[in-house]
């Protein structure tokens, strides 16, 4: 950034052709292909992986035949349905054995909070099947959980909003004397509601307990701007790549539909402290809120996987999906630093069409292979 010549910084967008990996194109399974109101990360990762390896084989593993990424132009090469995590480890392993006989893959990149814990627990069984699941370590996963976040922040000198773990509605109401309104009540995996009084709190707590079970978190509501950081940990406390984003467009569900990249040394130091403490391996997203009155950052949560905006750094020349796969392939990877500030993203939703016969086949047979149109993803 020059100071003597005040003008827009000339940013040279790295050519995407420079991002094609020399390593062997992987065969990789990905979950989380829905891109609707609550977008999942899988479809973004499909894009990023195809930018790195035009001939990559992508196996979509879906819980629902209505996951929109199944039918997108750059869809997976083949899709299989898998049982929900609540079905248990044995059922999933048996299903994966069947799938691997039909369409072998070497890597599994899970993207959904609700499946992470069970997959971490079955990492050995997956390895026995010849599948390397890209997962954090069990201890690190636990240490960054919503229930343990306050403790982690204390150990790292990072601020966090007052948070109480509650197991039922009565307990939730009971903690409000400390937390105060307005507040957030959050499920263990997904969904967070801003509540303004006891009636709100009771209704939302019941909804969350019915949908996700407990425990819930009741958290003070701070006023400020959200900053998200996507990073890849090297497993030894270091960071291989990072992208800091200020959210500029937020949906009614609180999802980021637009943002601008920033580089803030203060935010960087906080992330490095947390990742060092966790010795995190692989992708994670750290969600912060910058308090409007104090200007201080508060950590809201750490998501143990790529976020829905995972393709944004790839479009800026930093393909983190490629990085994590190359790492598990044993390719020597170098730290990439942070994405350049001053780039914005906006989420654009499109309509997809498909044949009801294909939808029906996925539901009844549990598998669907649709020929892809020529990919519009340039390598």
């Amino acid at each position: 950034m020059t100071t003597s010549d005040i003008s827009y910084v000339e940013t040279t967008m790295p050519t995407l052709s420079g991002g094609v990996s020399p390593s062997i194109a992987p065969r990789i399974a990905i979950t989380g292909l829905a891109r609707g109101e609550n977008p999942q990360p899988g479809a973004a990762l499909v894009k990023s992986l195809r930018r790195a390896w035009p001939d990559v084989t992508i196996v979509g593993l879906v819980y629902d035949a209505q996951e929109s990424g199944i039918y997108a132009d750059d869809r997976p090469d083949v899709v299989f349905t898998i049982p929900y995590p609540s079905s248990g480890k044995k059922v999933l392993i048996e299903r994966l054995k069947t799938i691997l006989e039909l369409e072998p893959f070497d890597f599994l990149l899970p993207t959904l909070d609700a499946e992470m814990e069970s997959l971490i627990q079955m990492a050995d069984e997956l390895r026995d099947l010849g599948v390397h699941a890209i997962l954090p370590g069990a201890d690190a996963f636990s240490a960054r959980s919503k229930q343990n976040l306050t403790k982690l922040c204390r150990e790292c000198g990072v601020r966090s909003p007052m948070t109480k773990v509650v197991h039922d509605v009565r307990e939730a109401v009971g903690v409000m004397e400390d937390v105060g309104f307005p507040a957030y009540v959050k499920g263990p995996y997904y969904d967070a509601y801003r509540v303004f009084g006891v009636d709100d709190l009771v209704v939302r707590s019941r909804e969350l307990l019915a949908e996700w079970g407990g425990p819930l978190l009741v958290q003070e509501a701070l006023d400020g701007v959200e900053f998200n950081v996507l990073a890849v940990g090297d497993g030894a406390g270091g960071i291989l790549a990072g992208c800091m984003l200020r959210k500029t467009v937020v949906s009614s569900k609180g999802k980021g539909y637009g943002g601008v990249t920033v580089v803030d040394p203060v935010l960087q130091a906080l992330c490095e402290s947390l990742i060092r403490e966790l010795a995190w391996s692989g992708p994670l997203e750290l969600e912060f809120l910058c308090d409007r009155s104090s200007g201080e950052y508060y950590l809201l949560e750490i998501n143990p996987r790529f976020p829905a905006w995972a393709d944004v750094p790839t479009l800026l020349g930093m393909n983190m999906a490629k990085l994590v796969v190359e790492r598990v392939q044993g390719v020597a990877v170098e730290p990439m630093g942070y994405c350049e500030p001053g780039h914005f993203f906006l989420r654009h939703n499109v309509d997809l069409v498909g044949k009801i016969e294909d939808f029906g086949q996925l539901i009844s047979a549990g598998t669907l292979e649709l020929e892809r149109a020529s990919s519009n993803i340039k390598s």
Binding site: I6, Y8, V9, R246, V260, C290, G342
Partner: protein, 88 residues
Amino acid sequence: MNILPLQSLMLNDGGFAFHPTTGESFQLSETGVAVIRLLLAGVEEGDLPAQLAEEFAVDLAVADRDIGGFLLTLKQMNLISISSDDDV
């Protein structure tokens, strides 16, 4: 006056400014752009009114008043800091 944060601002000729640390963006007036460019060129605070008065053909008193208000805004936005000894 410490203008270090100002030096990281991305600014175009039309007055659009982006702060790469905070992600904030804002629109400056023509005179705002002029003041920032003068500060970044090393012009002392005390010399700003005269320079602005000449560039925009306004009375010195008007320039002085407007600059004072603008510097206060920059300070509130943490783009400059002024020590207690500085005369704002």
